[in-house]
Symmetry: none
Subunit: 171 residues, 2 copies
DNA sequence: TCCTCACCCATGATATTCCAAATTTACACA
DNA sequence: TGTGTAAATTTGGAATATCATGGGTGAGGA
């Protein structure tokens, strides 16, 4: 799982070190896919072979020749760069993707569960504070609470040990 | 899998280099099939022997003499060029296909999972931005999210390890 | 005879690999 | 808690390999 946020620098050759924890999340694979985020947020999204295998399975499930599938295949499959890390864990960011996400010298890697994002630091800061506001919204918190309860319920009653309401011993 | 997009030039002899990653996706085969895309989008569609084998199996499943089968066989089987790469990974694009897809000097190879597309660069840019708009539509993103969840679910509960929120043994 | 095609080699540009230094982080010990 | 040592990671740069592309040659067909 891709967790946390890291900053990294683009060198003169356009190379970037993938943060070590993200390399671990890639499970030892050296192939990395990168594409502009679908929602137009201005960042890049990326992942390894496992993610792309999931996306392939997802896309081939959609009706062939449907507009939805064509759009997604074009953006995710045709629109992604197929990169390979070197032994020191670096990739070369393609020019067009740098331009698309406004990446110049420093970038932010942000974990996104199964994938990660690459941000221009200023854009990331703006995005971050917008998300902080959104997350504090009671509606958002309530939605999270409902989903969490569903997962708990789905996992069965054993997820939490039965509380001992009166218990003499504490240790 | 055919991923990403590459640009290539048609030389004076009508030859085109297949991008190296696509050659890898062809699995070492040197035979390439090309035909005008069925959906009338104006590009060519292509693949190797593996794809054609799949198409053969698919087409022979359809009822013989059915209009559907005749139409598809005519377009995909009869309508495709059967080309062979040279040792440097080039093919010669047939004149009629070039005319059909409006290919002149430069072309775009776009990955399409099991097949690839060949585009006139300007047409590709137009198609691409149309698809970007379509993909950013919340409806499309939602459809993708649903399909992704289904794939996750289909892979069983093991796709994510069940979290043990409270666990007696700790170390 | 001319043209096309398949096959060959050459070359510049690009990407990849390799090596090494600098920096950071982790760990052990005082 | 602070410090020294070791390991890992991030950088920078050079050597090497790969790739896209251009052109040449001869066989075979029109």
């Amino acid at each position: 799982m891709f967790v946390s946020t890291y900053e990294s620098a683009i060198d003169a050759k356009g190379r970037v070190s993938i943060p070590a924890p993200f390399r671990a999340a890639l499970g030892g694979g050296t192939r990395i896919f990168l594409w502009p985020a679908l929602d137009g947020s201005g960042c890049l999204e990326g992942g390894g072979e496992a993610l792309m295998a999931m996306y392939r399975a997802t896309l081939t499930r959609l009706a062939p020749q449907s507009e939805v599938r064509k759009a997604l295949v074009t953006r995710i499959i045709a629109g992604s760069a197929d990169l390979k890390m070197d032994e020191t864990g670096r990739i070369k960011l393609p020019e067009d993707l740098c331009k698309a996400a406004d990446l110049t010298d420093r970038i932010k890697f942000a974990g996104n569960i199964d994938s990660f994002q690459i941000w221009n630091p200023e854009k990331h800061a703006a995005f971050n504070s917008a998300m902080a506001t959104a997350a504090a919204d009671p509606e958002t918190l309530a939605a999270f609470g409902r989903a969490y309860s569903e997962v708990l319920h789905q996992q069965g009653a054993g997820a939490y040990p039965a509380p001992k309401l009166v218990d003499g011993s504490e240790g």
